[in-house]
C-alpha cells in the first residue's frame, strides 16, 4: 500500500500549526475527511440538494436515490442482511439512546439486569443508567483488569439469565482494548440476552460483519471514519426492529394520521422522523466507498502497526505509564500518564509543536478512577498517520520532559 499517496487524499493534513507541520493524533475523537467525501458533499449541495422521499421532481429523485443508495452501502459495509436494518442517526450516542428508549422501555422490568463493562464511554453508560432509573432495572458492570482487559472470571458470574441486555464497547476509546466481541455475544445469547455492540472505535478501523459477530444491535458514528459529523448508523436485527415502538414522532415515520391516532411505517423509516441529515448520509456513503477501496483489512493492519510502534517508542520516555493492553493487541490508540506533566499541560505543549492530542477523562470517568489517574493524554491514529509522526510525538514528549522538570 502506498500510504503516503493515500495521505495526500486529505487536504487538511498538509498545513503548518504553530509553525510546525501538523501531526494530527486525535483521530479517536474525530477523523479527517478525504477529498472524495468533501467533493461528494459539495456536489450534493451544488447539484442535487432537495428533500428526500415523497416529492416527484428531479432533484428530490436524485437526492432520494443517493440517500437510499447510502443505506445499501452501510448494510454492505457491516454485513447486514438487509438495508432495512440500517437506521440513520446523529451518531453512536443517539443510536444507543434510541435502543434504550424503544426496545429498553418496552422490554425491561424491575429487577432485570442491564450488563455493561467498566470501560464504557459515557454514551454507553448514561442511557442505561437513565433506563434503569425509569424501569427499576439493575445496572451491573464487568470490571476491568490492570492490563486493560475485561475480567473474564467476572463475566462468568455476572452473565446470568437475569441479564436482559448486554451492551459493551468493541474497542475502548480510553484503553485501546479490543474486546472479544464474538465470544462475549455468543455467551450472552446462549442465556437469552439481547446484545448491543458499540462500534464507535471499530467501524472504519477493521472489517465488521454483524451477522458473524451475532449482535442484535451495532452502533457507530460517521465522523470517526472519514464521514461528516452529525451522522451515524444504528443497525438492528429486523426481528427486533419490527417489534419496537417509534421513538421520535413526526413526518416521514407515519403511514396514516388522524386526529385520533396514527399508524407507523415499517423499519427503518419508523425510526427516522423528520427531514434527515441528507448530506450527511450521502457523505457517509462516500466515506464507506473510500474506505472499502483501500480495504478494511489493510487499514486494520496499518492501524495495528502504528499502535504497536507507538507503544514501543513511547515506552522510551522516562516517567511514562501507558494504559491498556501491552501484549500487542490494541486498537489504534495509546493513552498515557506522565509523572512530569498533567495531561492538559502536555497537550498545550504538544499543540505548540503542531501535535494535536487530547487530554482528560475521554468520557470515561469511572475508568479514570479505576486506574487512579485524574486523566490521561491520548494519541490516536488512523491510516493516514505515518511512522515519522510517531517519531515526532516521542521527540515532543522528550522535549516536554525537559520543559516541565
Amino acid at each position: 500500500m502506498d500510504w503516503h499517496r493515500i495521505r495526500s487524499d486529505f487536504p487538511i493534513l498538509d498545513q503548518q500549526v504553530n509553525g510546525h507541520p501538523l501531526v494530527y493524533l486525535d483521530n479517536a475523537a474525530s477523523s479527517q475527511k478525504p477529498r472524495a467525501v468533501i467533493q461528494t458533499l459539495s456536489h450534493y449541495y451544488e447539484r442535487d440538494n432537495s428533500n428526500v422521499h415523497r416529492a416527484l421532481h428531479e432533484l428530490s429523485n436524485r437526492a432520494t436515490e443517493a440517500f437510499e443508495a447510502a443505506r445499501k452501502k452501510a448494510a454492505h459495509f457491516i454485513g447486514a442482511a438487509s438495508e432495512d436494518e440500517i437506521i440513520f442517526t446523529r451518531g453512536t450516542t443517539e443510536g444507543i439512546n434510541l435502543v434504550a428508549n424503544t426496545w429498553g422501555t418496552q422490554n425491561l422490568r424491575a429487577g432485570d439486569v442491564i450488563l455493561i463493562t467498566g470501560m464504557e464511554h459515557h454514551s454507553n453508560l448514561i442511557p442505561w443508567q437513565m433506563l434503569a432509573q425509569r424501569t427499576g432495572a439493575i445496572l451491573k458492570y464487568i470490571p476491568v483488569l490492570d492490563d486493560g482487559t475485561l475480567d473474564s472470571a467476572a463475566v462468568e458470574t455476572l452473565l446470568t439469565e437475569q441479564v436482559k441486555l448486554f451492551a459493551f464497547v468493541h474497542i475502548s476509546n480510553s484503553l485501546g482494548t479490543i474486546n472479544p466481541a464474538k465470544e462475549l455475544i455468543a455467551k450472552a445469547k446462549a442465556l437469552g440476552a439481547v446484545t448491543l455492540l458499540d462500534g464507535a472505535q471499530s467501524a472504519g478501523h477493521m472489517p465488521i460483519d454483524v451477522r458473524d459477530l451475532g449482535c442484535d444491535f451495532f452502533v457507530f458514528s460517521g465522523h470517526k471514519m472519514c464521514g461528516p459529523t452529525g451522522i451515524g448508523v444504528l443497525y438492528g436485527r429486523m426481528a427486533l426492529l419490527e417489534t419496537m415502538p417509534p421513538w421520535h414522532g413526526g413526518g416521514e415515520m407515519i403511514l396514516s394520521v388522524t386526529m385520533e391516532g396514527s399508524t407507523y411505517k415499517a423499519p427503518p423509516h419508523r425510526f427516522e422522523a423528520g427531514t434527515p441529515n441528507i448530506a450527511g448520509v450521502i457523505g457517509l456513503g462516500a466515506a464507506m466507498d473510500y474506505l472499502q477501496a483501500i480495504g478494511l483489512e489493510n487499514i486494520q493492519r496499518h492501524d495495528h502497526n502504528l499502535a504497536n510502534y507507538a507503544v514501543q517508542r513511547m515506552s522510551e520516555v522516562p516517567g511514562i505509564r501507558i494504559l491498556g493492553p501491552q501484549n500487542g493487541h490494541r486498537g489504534a490508540l495509546a493513552a498515557f500518564h506522565l509523572d512530569f506533566a498533567h495531561p492538559h499541560d502536555l497537550v498545550e505543549f504538544a499543540n505548540s509543536h503542531g501535535v494535536a492530542m487530547r487530554g482528560g477523562h475521554h468520557c470515561t470517568q469511572p475508568l479514570m478512577k479505576r486506574f487512579k489517574v485524574p486523566g490521561t493524554t491520548r494519541a490516536s491514529f488512523y491510516f493516514y498517520n505515518m511512522i515519522e509522526e510517531i517519531n515526532r510525538l516521542v521527540e515532543v514528549l522528550l522535549l516536554a520532559r525537559k520543559f516541565f522538570t
Partner: protein, 145 residues
Amino acid sequence: MLSDDLRDLYQQVILDHSRNPRNSGELPPPCLHAHGDNPSCGDEIDVWVRVSDKGDIEDLKFTGQGCAISQASASMMTQKIKGKSKDEAAAVREDFRRVVMGDGAPANEDALGELILLEGVQKFPQRVKCAMLAWRALEQALDSK
C-alpha cells in the same frame, strides 16, 4: 523552539510554584473550607481559611491536584492573600480575574505582585477556569461563614 505565548504561560516562577506548592496542606478546625473542581478536566482544589474576628485572613492552605496552571495559581494565591482583610482579598481576586481573562485593566496592578505572571493565560481561553479554580474555592470558603 517554543512559541512566546507558551513561554509566557509556563514561566519558571509558575512551574516552580506548581512543582513546589507553598502553603500546601490542611488547617486544623476551626476554619472555613471549600472544595472546588473542574469536572471536565479533573482539577481539584480544597482551600482552608482561618479568619479573625476582625475579618482578617490569618492563615490559609490548600491541597489539590491538576494542571500546572491550577496548582501554581493556588500556591501563589495563598501567599498573596495571607494577612489580607476579606475586602482586600476580594479586590485582589477581581483584579486577578481581569488579568487572566484579559477583561480590562486591574484597579491596582501593584497589589497583584507575582500573580501578574499568570497574565499569559489570557491567550489560552480554555485555561482561564484552571487559573480561577482556587480563587472560586476561596470565595466559596469565605462566603460559607
